[in-house]
């Protein structure tokens, strides 16, 4: 009978290793000055260096080195006093040079750690994930396999290559072996990748979007009988493209490997591909026949020798640790764990904090960014923070608080700003979006509404307060929605002798 996850971890101890690749958000590529902008026409962001044309000479992007050092510092690593690039040779068309410029035995950062917290049966518990290395390399081009039924390599007639992505700075963060997690291996893996993503976001070195591939995770996993003290043969699962998938990939591999071991089958050291739909993995290329990469020091690039002054300057710019900052902001704003998680997951923490620091009410700032602005961003399939600035949102919120805008008008103002109508004040002026707060103007509309619906007015006078809704509606309509409904209600009831 097949083992399920609980049965598998009752018998076997999982050991994890995680490799995370992050695309840095530099303007230009790692070794040349081509743009890194996403979405350009194919092969319009290439040059002799990233196409590997003969005689082209690479030069390292200084910003990419700084970003890599920042990442190392944030992960409690030592920064290597001497670091070198190396050629990783392989024959595959995603790199036109026939090698990837990477780092081998002299990475820029080594020996760090990241503490993560997970919920266990005994309450919250901290795990330390040790970091082996952080190294610099470059992304590969994009292949499109044409022909065959599946779009996969097998059965394809030919492949089409776009090298716009080739040479975009990439940082690889590799953990040491993570043991002792027991049945919590999936949660530890997810918590680590989550915390890492938050740290990278706080450093502003990458946009860390797993679904878009700017952050990618490979999960190494092996099993050994509990108490054996041995290390089993590991598999490496690629294509894990969301935080939830990290957790599911670990569960899937634990169950698969445990069942193989149960039936006396061998675990093959291999690369496997995560299948998003089923949570299972399928075999990729077998590592036993994997390439011999023939690494050697890159002769076209000079060593990176960070001096301690430079490192200390960078260390001084490190932001507050995300886990500490989250706790602080959650206390300050007094919000639930769930709302805090929504803000973090939507990547809105910085902009909401900025909006509040510009004088906006915290509750309103959160609800505008998570609500209306996120909704509009979703429709347009863009990032909310690309639509409107924190200062513009703060301005709108302050106008609401001053009674100059209703929520409804404010939505129109926000839409106007997003549509390119200028600042909130300009949109208000252009569209005439002011609350009608002049009592005499409102009274004219109220008297007109009563004159048009005398029976309704009588019912209100007779004590049927809910009937006033029809009259308020008529006034709102007459003022083009620019009146404050609460104000209209107050004036109307007072006029009909039903005021407080």
């Amino acid at each position: 009978m097949a083992l399920n996850y609980d049965q598998a971890v009752a018998k076997y101890e999982p050991t994890l290793g995680l490799e995370v690749h992050v695309e840095l958000n530099t303007h230009s590529k790692m070794f040349c000055s081509c743009s890194t902008e996403f979405g350009a026409e194919p092969n319009t962001q290439t040059c002799p260096v990233c196409l590997g044309l003969p005689g082209a000479l690479p030069v390292v992007n200084g910003k990419a080195i700084e970003s890599s050092i920042l990442i190392g510092l944030a992960l409690n690593c030592s920064i290597a006093p001497f670091s070198r690039f190396a050629r990783k040779n392989y024959f595959y068309p995603d790199m036109p040079k026939n090698f990837q410029t990477s780092q081998y035995d002299e990475p820029i950062c080594v020996n760090g750690y990241l503490d993560v917290e997970i919920e266990t049966d005994e309450g919250a518990k901290q795990f330390r994930v040790e970091i082996e290395r952080v190294h610099m390399e470059e992304d590969t081009g994009k292949s499109l396999h044409v022909g065959g039924a599946t779009g996969r390599i097998h059965g394809a007639d030919y492949s089409l290559l776009d090298y716009n992505r080739a040479g975009i700075p990439l940082v690889e963060i590799v953990t040491k072996i993570v043991g002792g997690t027991g049945k919590y291996a999936p949660q530890v893996a997810r918590a680590y990748v989550t915390e890492l993503r938050d740290i990278l976001r706080s450093l502003q070195v990458s946009d860390v979007k797993m679904e878009q591939g700017s952050m990618r995770c490979d999960v190494n996993l092996s099993l050994a009988p509990i108490g054996s003290g041995a290390l089993g043969t590991r598999s490496e699962t690629k294509n894990v493209n969301s935080l939830r998938s990290v957790e599911r990939a670990v569960v899937g591999e634990v169950v698969r490997q445990a069942n193989r071991l149960e039936t006396g089958e061998r675990i093959v050291q291999e690369t496997r591909h995560f299948l998003e739909e089923s949570g299972q993995t399928r075999p990729g290329r077998s590592k036993e026949q994997a390439e011999d990469y023939r690494y050697f020091p890159e002769p076209d690039l000079v060593p990176v020798v960070p001096n301690s002054e430079w490192i200390e300057v960078l260390r001084a710019t490190l932001p507050e640790k995300p886990s500490i900052r989250r706790k602080r902001l959650q206390d300050e704003w007094n919000v639930s764990d769930k709302e805090m998680a929504s803000l973090v997951n939507a990547g809105l923490l910085n902009v909401v904090e900025a909006t509040i620091s510009l004088g906006a009410d915290p509750a309103r700032a959160r609800s505008w960014w998570l609500g209306e602005i996120s909704r509009l961003a979703n429709e347009k399939e863009v990032d909310p923070i690309s639509l409107i600035s924190a200062s513009q949102v703060a301005e709108v919120i302050q106008l609401i608080e001053a009674g100059e805008l209703t929520d409804k008008l404010a939505r129109q103002v926000v839409e106007g700003v997003i549509a390119g109508g200028g600042t909130p004040v300009q949109v208000i002026a252009q569209r005439g979006l002011k609350v009608v707060s002049d009592d005499s103007a409102l009274m004219i509309a109220i008297e007109a509404a009563i004159a048009a619906q005398p029976d309704t007015a009588d019912r209100v006078r007779g004590g049927n307060i809910p009937a006033a809704g029809a009259l308020i509606g008529a006034v709102m309509k007459a003022t083009g929605g620019q009146a404050d409904a609460a104000k209209v209600r107050e004036l109307l009831l007072k006029h009909l002798g039903k005021g407080e």
Binding site: H27, N43, T44, H145, L160
Partner: protein
């Protein structure tokens, strides 16, 4: 003992996707062995005080500003490609790998 065996050469040829005949393998194994032997002599000369060198000039930390400069046009980029389609480099099917 030979510094490089015939099997090593066959393996390297496979990694580099170079087809070699039996005669070529025999010939190259001997020739490469001589070359490696010569390089090994140089290694003997370098003492512990000479660090492995990857660059002829002792210079470090040469970096560029993170500034975008114009790239080649798509036409220029593809001008040397034996085959192209849809603005992309067209390469033969890739077998036995993923």
């Amino acid at each position: 003992m030979a510094a490089i065996s015939r099997d090593d050469v066959a393996h390297l040829a496979k990694l580099a996707r170079i087809e070699m005949s039996e005669a070529e393998l025999d010939h190259l194994a001997k020739e490469l062995d001589v070359i490696l032997g010569a390089v090994a002599r140089v290694q003997e000369v370098a003492g512990a005080d000479v660090p492995p060198t990857s660059h002829p000039i002792p210079v470090n930390n040469v970096v560029r500003e993170d500034v975008v400069r114009p790239s080649l046009t798509q036409q220029e980029a593809l001008s040397g490609a034996p085959a192209q389609a849809d603005g992309r480099f067209k390469v033969p099917q890739i077998l036995g790998e993923e």
